[in-house]
């Protein structure tokens, strides 16, 4: 259902909502009761909506264990530190790793003791291993994030 389509509110629906949420004053409430008595369609909709309201009224959002709140702020703060840490580590890995790979490839291409095809093969093999490693790590991270059984102890 599209939100925009439902944003047009008619008087009858508004009346039903305000009645359900106890927002009618005494005069409005009396007028509503009269309309209910006279209009079977309205009465039927009121019954259905009241049932839905009663169902949610008997429920609440599940509370977490109280100790969750003790470490809440510490966890928030460490996330900001961790964020900065990850940025610096990633930057360092990119710079140092990039430099190492560049130097290695340069040295390999300059090494004329090996046939060119072997040198190109080594570069292709290294590139393939890096792609596979990245793919496996990314998959593991995704699984860890979404695995519903990750907290179950075997």
């Amino acid at each position: 259902m599209n939100d925009e389509r439902t944003d047009a509110m008619d008087e009858r629906s508004e009346l039903l909502m305000r009645a359900l949420d106890g927002e009618l004053d005494a005069v409005e409430r009396a007028a509503f009761e009269t309309r209910l008595a006279d209009d079977p369609d309205l009465r039927e909709e009121w019954r259905r909506l009241s049932r839905a309201r009663e169902a949610t009224m008997g429920m609440k959002l599940r509370h977490p264990p109280e100790q969750v709140w003790d470490g809440y702020w510490t966890s928030v703060y460490s996330r900001t530190e961790r964020g900065l840490g990850w940025i610096l580590v990633s930057l360092g890995v990119i710079v140092v790793g990039g430099w190492a790979v560049w130097t290695w490839i340069g040295g390999l291409l300059a090494d004329t003791s090996l046939p060119l095809v072997v040198r190109l093969g080594m570069i292709a093999m290294f590139t393939g291993v890096v792609i596979l490693a990245i793919s496996v790590v990314r998959h593991r991270i995704n699984v860890l994030r979404t695995d519903p059984y990750k907290d179950i102890q075997r």
């Binding site: 259902m1 599209n2 939100d3 439902t6 944003d7 047009a8 509110m9 629906s13 508004e14 039903l16 909502m17 305000r18 359900l20 949420d21 927002e23 259905r48 909506l49 049932r51 839905a52 309201r53 169902a55 949610t56 009224m57 008997g58 429920m59 609440k60 959002l61 599940r62 509370h63 977490p64 969750v68 709140w69 809440y72 702020w73 966890s75 928030v76 703060y77 996330r79 900001t80 964020g83 979404t146 519903p148 907290d151």
Partner: protein
């Protein structure tokens, strides 16, 4: 007075926001402690999973801390924070894999209100209520985000129409129309069961 309304008139909070905007992490920590429960429950209502709600609400606070210099001391903290939180939650829900997992677990995040429990309740009545919880959970998880958000704020956070409208920065009429659509969907689900 609701928590949101209270935060509007809380001079102490205005001072904390002012200090936090100048980089005072202790003040920001106090703001987190004041609003962490509301944040967690708002996220839980939106994503329907306790672990994800905790993660997303903390992530939103971490992002808020990063942008604390943009805080306006003249305005309450929670609506500003909530805009960050709901964006994170909606992005999370748009991930198809997350959505499927949450649909599978629908209802697990709802609990029966103990105050509404009757002592010595008949087992049949209890089973009926557990069924209703599952149906409500599933119906809520299938609602469009905007309708679900309004319904959760009204039913579980006990906010008034005006407060919801201020929090989401939408007209009161839109709040009511979304609420009406959400309740109709819920009523349909209950009738079909």
């Amino acid at each position: 007075m609701s928590r949101l309304a209270a935060s509007y008139v809380d001079a102490g909070e205005a001072m904390l926001v002012e200090r936090a905007s100048r980089g005072d992490n202790t003040a920001f920590g106090e703001l987190v402690r004041r609003h962490m429960r509301s944040a967690y429950f708002a996220a839980l209502g939106l994503v329907g999973s306790p672990d994800d709600a905790l993660d997303l609400s903390q992530d939103a606070f971490a992002r808020a801390l990063k942008h604390a210099s943009k805080l306006d001391p003249g305005r309450p903290f929670y609506p500003w924070y909530y805009a960050i939180l709901r964006r994170l939650c909606f992005n999370f829900l748009r991930d198809r894999k997350n959505r499927q997992r949450l649909l599978d677990e629908s209802g697990a995040w709802l609990a029966e209100d103990l105050a509404a429990d009757g002592l010595g309740e008949h087992p049949d009545a209890r089973l009926r209520r557990e069924d209703a919880r599952r149906i409500v959970g599933r119906a809520l998880s299938r609602l469009p985000e905007g309708q679900r958000e309004v319904l959760v704020l009204r039913e579980f956070e006990d906010m008034k129409y005006r407060e919801i409208a201020e929090l989401l920065e939408i007209p009161v009429g839109t709040v009511m129309s979304r609420l009406y659509a959400a309740r109709r969907a819920l009523a349909d689900a209950l009738e079909e069961s």
